[in-house]
Assembly symmetry: C2
Homo-oligomer: 150 residues x 2
Amino acid sequence: MYGDCMRDSGYTIQDMAERCGMTAHTLRYYERVGLIQPVSRARNGHRRYSEADAAWLHFLHCMRATNMPIRAMQRYAELRELGDSTSLDRRKILEDHRAAIASQIKELEQAHTLLTHKIANYKKIEQRIRIGGPVEEEIEEVACDLATAG
Amino acid sequence: MYGDCMRDSGYTIQDMAERCGMTAHTLRYYERVGLIQPVSRARNGHRRYSEADAAWLHFLHCMRATNMPIRAMQRYAELRELGDSTSLDRRKILEDHRAAIASQIKELEQAHTLLTHKIANYKKIEQRIRIGGPVEEEIEEVACDLATAG
DNA sequence: CCTTGACTTCGAGCACGCTCAAAGATGTAC
DNA sequence: GTACATCTTTGAGCGTGCTCGAAGTCAAGG
């Protein structure tokens, strides 16, 4: 396919997609919606991503992976383009998202605990089935009612 | 509105929605797609939810809140209807979801750390702005490149 | 009797975040 | 020069999970 002369320095969209755990489609989409500034091009018109692009895209990926809405990311990207004077607003956005992350972690941890209880309960039920004993849905009293609610 | 004779025992859909942090729309939707068995009715045809329904819906809510797909919840609900013989399959589903939760927590914690770094960095930048010093984007070397990538 | 309000069903619509298809350009290899 | 791969743009389409609107029922209150 492509030899050495069309490199024009930088990552191709495919390279970048692999590096950031996104698809090329997504990278173009992010550019379209303003999450990343127009990427520089090789002479043939193909995108060539820089290291700075890589870092920024990696950051975007982290934010999306933790459920920051595209809207918020757009707002952040916009402020970033405006320079240092927007530091406060940008920090606010990050602080809000950090809080959102904290509350997600809390919910996930609660569910994790619940599941651990329920899984233990299932193991007990399976044990009863194996030894042919009576299978009652609620074998033990667990901290949370939910462990035996299904 | 409703006096005493139409109670017919059980929570109304509104009560239930509030109790479980969902909307009445969502409760009907869950019933439609088989996440909950047809709910018993008052004589006027209105739904009346039992305590058992409440526990099950609360569980469903926990699973959805931690991003279990509706599909998986449907599968689980289906097995639940089939009784104890499906214990193993159900446990597998819960174990899979618990693993998914663990990996979400991991990702969220990483992002949380990253954000803490970035926020600290923004505070430094704001400090420089206040004292009128030179504002360089990267004031400190932080563990993660990303802390200064935007 | 008429209004009010909470419910019912049903199907359509929506927000989000991609994801893809079509048509075309360009560069490499044979 | 022909095949092939990789990219380009544009606009449309899709999967998920609700969310809503329309039209109707039913009981209570005035």
